[in-house]
């Protein structure tokens, strides 16, 4: 990270660092949001969230054809199948709604099959047309989204649903297993090279407020765009969960499973929605981080950065994840730039690396004094 020497006029560099930190923080928020969604609805701390981010980034990078001259037929085949699956899933979802709304029947069942077959056909045609080369972003993005949706569904359906009502630690271990599987399986599928995702974002740095500060404030436009995308996503999700029927149902499930079922909320459907959404959030995070840092294994470690964000914001709070991300993002950058020189000067330490531990120390302090986080529900146990 760029560490500028503190100048006599500190405000300029301070603001610059702050802005850079906040922009990174929005991305932390995005990853943390994936955790919060699943934790709220099912009480599972999904350790695999980071692996999902990596998997999404890898998938997108591979689909947009980041490797030159290497053709993997199997991969293309799987991708084609995934699109097919996506078409299927979407169609099935739509048809299911119709089915329920009309009370079901033979005609609806036939229509579902028909639509599914149509979806498969479209999937096959697209895969055939583009399957051998690299895909344009407009095609690769929805395909990756579909793959993430299917993946999330598979995790929920195959692993977690069978562990309902088990101890938290067992669920946690399960997601740990999923995390390592996904990390490895992603590489099995897509290879382990470092890929690039090119979103076509502007690269030249922007200088803001040149009139006020000497040389202006340097802002990376890529970061800016990423932050805007993340912010929009966060707002959309917040509205979705606060204002809609599904949102109310989700909050109900989070509070009490049995009661939610008794008012007619289907648990399976809600969990499926939640996992799918968190899969899509992982995609957004993966794309943005991938474009910023390159797609590589270390992306899955970003999940660990989301941990202190969650401790700060509270595990069950959407606004908490946002604010927590911003605080951590800004805090670690500021500490790196302004605390490190002091340490070097006063104590003759080597300095660097503060960025790596700052978030965790902050989280530890929070654990000691405010374990429920800034916005979490207060933990009160009656004895």
């Amino acid at each position: 990270m760029a560490s500028s020497e503190p100048e006599p006029a500190m405000l300029g560099p301070f603001l610059e660092t702050l802005i850079g930190g906040l922009l990174t923080g929005v991305l932390y928020s995005l990853v943390a949001l994936g955790f919060v969604l699943i934790f709220k609805a099912s009480g599972v701390f999904n350790f695999a969230q980071g692996a999902m981010v990596l998997f999404a980034a890898l998938t997108l990078a591979r689909l947009t054809g980041a490797i030159d001259g290497r053709e993997v037929h199997l991969v293309h085949f799987i991708v084609a199948a995934a699109i097919l699956g996506s078409a299927l899933a979407f169609v099935a979802w739509y048809a299911w709604r119709e089915y329920v709304a009309r009370g079901g029947g033979a005609i609806e069942r036939r229509r579902i099959l028909l639509l599914a077959a149509g979806g498969a056909l479209i999937g096959g045609v697209v895969a055939g047309a583009y399957g051998k080369g690299s895909w344009p972003l407009w095609l690769a993005l929805p395909a990756t989204a579909a793959i993430m949706g299917v993946l999330a569904y598979a995790i929920e359906r195959l692993v977690l649903r069978h562990l309902v009502n088990q101890e938290g630690i067992i669920l946690f271990m399960a997601t740990l297993g999923i995390a390592y599987f996904l990390d490895g399986f992603g590489q099995t599928l897509w290879g382990s090279d470092i890929y690039k995702i090119n979103l076509g974002l502007p690269k030249d740095p922007i200088f803001l407020l040149e009139g006020v500060f000497e040389g202006g404030l340097l802002v990376d436009p890529g970061d800016l765009v990423a932050a805007v995308i993340a912010a929009v996503l966060v707002v959309v999700l917040a509205v979705f969960f606060q204002k809609t029927r599904v949102g109310r149902a989700l909050r109900a499930v989070a509070d009490d499973h049995a009661a939610a079922q008794s008012v007619g909320i289907p648990l399976d459907t809600i969990w499926l929605i939640v996992w799918t959404v968190s899969g899509l959030v992982a995609l957004a995070a993966g794309v943005i981080w991938g474009a910023k840092l390159g797609v590589q294994f270390s992306i899955s470690l970003i999940a660990l950065k989301a941990l202190p964000v969650l401790i700060l914001g509270g595990f069950t709070s959407v606004p908490g994840a946002i604010i927590g991300g911003l605080i951590i993002g800004a805090g670690e950058k500021l500490s790196e730039v302004f605390l490190a020189p002091i340490l070097v000067k006063q104590f003759n330490l080597a300095g660097g690396g503060i960025e790596n531990w700052f978030a965790y120390v902050l989280a530890l302090i929070f654990l000691l004094f405010r374990p429920q986080g800034l916005f979490g529900e207060r933990i009160i146990e009656r004895v």
Binding site: K243, A249, A252, A259, S262, G264, I265
Partner: protein, 263 residues
């Protein structure tokens, strides 16, 4: 203290030969009874008799190994809870199961969940059909709030309410679904006399005004004999009595079960 002499013809729900066991523990053994449309039906019995298990079978939380339940003429051996809710069965729980983080209003709104039909998109924007629908549901919910006399706690998170009011909110949430069959699991447990009287009044009013069929579990014999039309008695997972309150009071098996007999 005499039962209200009412007669009912139509059977809303009938339970036939239900047996339920958890591992080696038999919770219910060959239970059969029916609930008539419009009546107040009580299930009583000593602790551990299987009353809540019975309710959980009707509501789909438990799936009995044997037997079937016929509801509105449709026979089924298994049903999931949200399907039961879709078919007009609402319930409350022995240990209050409210959404503690939400306000009274929001809790009761969740009861309307099944009745909301507009798409997500409109809901998120709060315009057009979604707004009309929201207003309509809010009106229904406000009526329930008025009915249960909990206007003063509309916006309060239910976790902060006293026990008696929480029970009332839970009843409100069940009522919001406009159920045909309302299952109440110990609605008056832990209440003082005044609160019990209020709750009795609400139960009777719901039954009278909305014609809702009610099946309730209750330990307070005075209340049970007072408000219910018919009573079924369970003991150790078996049915030992079934009839109008006056019959139950005279039933020797029931008296033995409650008072204990020397062996």
């Amino acid at each position: 203290m005499s039962a209200r002499a009412r007669s009912f013809n139509e059977v809303l729900l009938s339970v036939e030969g239900i047996s339920l066991s958890f591992g080696g523990v038999k919770a219910l053994t060959d239970i059969s009874f029916d609930i008539a449309k419009g009546e107040i039906r009580a299930i009583i019995g000593p602790n551990g008799a299987g009353k809540s298990s019975m309710l959980n079978c009707i509501n789909g939380f438990y799936h009995p190994q044997q037997g079937a339940i016929t509801y509105k003429g449709v026979r089924r051996s298994q049903m999931r809870p949200h399907e039961a809710a879709e078919q007009g069965i609402a319930r409350t729980f022995q240990n209050i199961a409210l959404f503690r983080g939400m306000s009274t209003l929001d809790n009761i709104m969740t009861g309307r969940n099944l009745r909301m039909k507009t798409g997500l998109f409109w809901q998120a924007l709060r315009i057009g059909p979604a707004e009309r629908e929201e207003i309509e549901h809010r009106r229904a919910v406000e009526e329930i709030i008025d009915f249960l006399e909990i206007q003063h706690v509309r916006k309060v998170p239910v976790g902060q309410l006293p026990y008696g009011l929480q029970k009332r909110v839970e009843l409100g949430r069940a009522l919001a679904a406009q159920p045909e069959l309302l299952l109440l699991d110990e609605p008056m447990a832990g209440m003082n006399i005044e609160e019990k009287q209020d709750m009795c009044r609400f139960v009777l009013d719901v039954n009278d005004e909305f014609g809702t069929t009610i099946c309730l579990i209750e330990h307070d014999m005075g209340v049970v004999m007072d408000i219910s039309d018919r009573v079924v008695v369970l003991d150790y997972g078996r049915k030992i009595g079934d009839g109008v309150p006056d019959e139950i009071k005279r039933n020797q098996a029931v008296i033995d079960a409650y008072l204990g007999v020397g062996h």
